[in-house]
């Protein structure tokens, strides 16, 4: 059933067009517009909900999310370094991608839940923004130790003032301040068009993902295996943590998806600046060429079942 979600079909169309080397190409400006609208609308939706319902225990959840980001990075690193025999910088960079999160995957999971009428906690977009960051810091330390010559200024800037964080947090703030009535006038663009804009985003992501496939063979089986099993591990961790934090099944599905997803925009940019000796193709092939398609096509319904099962088994 899930594979019939129309936004997924747009991803498959992009993937197919890319693999067939079609002339289809969307200008970078369109990608920028589409991702700006997505980020703002995810943030705003969360902010509006937050304005309506008190969210107790936000701080513990934020801290738990930070801890999860660090943990996933620290778990992925030795696997890549010793099982995968990657160079230290490469292992650290790839690990950071998997400790962080993909906003596109999150958006597909949101669409999945909303198509099924499943609600989730309002502040998930806040956790999304929070989870982007800690893996980057851990990755850099793994690559270089606590060395002095890290371009700390450029890095902090890149991380905290990157487009994703600013628009997510900005959207949250706007939704929270304006409230449900206040955002009414801009709802036709940011809420009604959400899934259509997501469809365009996925079309373009499909095209880009396809361009990573060419490198797949070169970088070998291990990276593919890693790109398929690391999300499963992440989802387990995320679903269990969600249960600990008392999240609803919808929220648990989202936290599991976030844990399972790998960054392909914020972290690559940060790694180019802070761990330049890492080969960026390795991380992108894994996160965009393997993990993103896997999560979007198969993972999300799986993580939903997983979250439901955890709730059933452990109660809550």
């Amino acid at each position: 059933m899930h594979s019939l979600d129309p936004v997924i079909l747009f991803f498959l169309l992009g993937l197919a067009a890319g693999l067939l080397r079609s002339e289809l190409r969307l200008p970078a400006a369109v990608y920028d517009l589409v991702s700006t609208v997505l980020l703002l609308s995810i943030g705003m939706k969360g902010g509006v909900e937050l304005a309506q319902h008190q969210q107790p225990g936000l701080l513990p959840q934020v801290l738990a999310t930070i801890a999860m980001g660090c943990t996933l990075t620290l778990v992925a690193f030795p696997v890549l370094r010793y099982l995968g025999r990657f160079k230290r910088a490469d292992a650290a960079a790839i690990a950071a991608h998997y400790g962080s999160v993909s906003v596109g995957t999150f958006a597909v999971a949101v669409a999945y839940l909303s198509n099924r009428g499943i609600s989730f906690e309002a502040h998930m977009p806040l956790l999304l923004a929070v989870l982007e960051i800690p893996a980057i810091a851990v990755g850099i330390v793994l690559a270089r130790g606590f060395s002095r010559d890290i371009r700390v200024g450029a890095l902090l800037h890149e991380v905290f003032l990157g487009k994703g964080i600013v628009l997510l947090l900005g959207g949250l703030a706007i939704g929270w301040i304006a409230g449900p009535d206040g955002v009414g006038p801009v709802a036709p663009l940011f809420f009604d068009l959400f899934k259509g804009v997501l469809a365009l985003f996925l079309l373009e992501t499909g095209l880009i993902a396809a361009s990573q496939f060419a490198s797949l063979r070169r970088y070998g089986v291990f990276l593919v295996m890693f790109g398929l099993t690391m999300p499963l591990l992440g989802a387990l961790v995320g679903a269990f943590l969600a249960w600990l934090l008392g999240l609803s099944p919808g929220g648990s599905t989202l936290l599991a998806t976030m844990a399972a997803s790998a960054s392909y925009i914020a972290v690559p940019a940060a790694m180019r600046i802070s761990v330049p000796e890492a080969n960026p193709a390795l991380s992108l092939v894994a996160s965009l060429g393997v993990t993103f398609p896997f999560n979007v096509l198969l993972g999300i319904p799986l993580y939903h079942s997983l979250a439901a099962a955890v709730h059933r088994l452990l109660g809550g």
């Binding site: 190409r25 970078a28 990608y31 371009r151 450029a154 373009e204 095209l207 880009i208 361009s211 392909y264 925009i265 690559p268 940019a269 180019r272 600046i273 330049p276 000796e277 960026p280 193709a281 992108l284």
Partner: protein, 100 residues
């Protein structure tokens, strides 16, 4: 027309380090630079500019010989190994030498 010899240094590299690089250029003595968006192919494969991670920039700096050599040396030592980057130098003539 009086014209004066200067060097034109052209760098093609990853868009991800545009900000970093322009700061370095100024620190190394460039009085200005011009940037255009680019795509291309080189030893590190195709960079198609379909999205940020695969975009190039093309940076031009007009400067005196010493500054040009300083920048070129610095980039070779600090950037060549880790980034998709090429650079080349040319002799050009400018009208107002005090600007560069």
């Amino acid at each position: 027309m009086n014209s004066f010899p200067r060097k034109l240094l052209t760098i093609v590299t990853e868009a991800a380090i545009e900000n970093l690089l322009t700061q370095e250029l100024e620190r190394l003595g460039a009085h200005g630079y011009t940037i255009t968006d680019a795509r291309g192919k080189g030893h590190r494969g195709v960079r198609s500019a379909d999205w940020s991670a695969s975009s190039n920039v093309r940076i031009e700096v007009i400067c005196d010989d010493i500054t040009a050599a300083r920048i070129a040396d610095y980039l070779r030592q600090n950037y060549y190994d880790n980034y998709a980057m090429i650079l080349w130098l040319e002799e050009v003539a400018v009208l107002r030498p005090e600007k560069f």
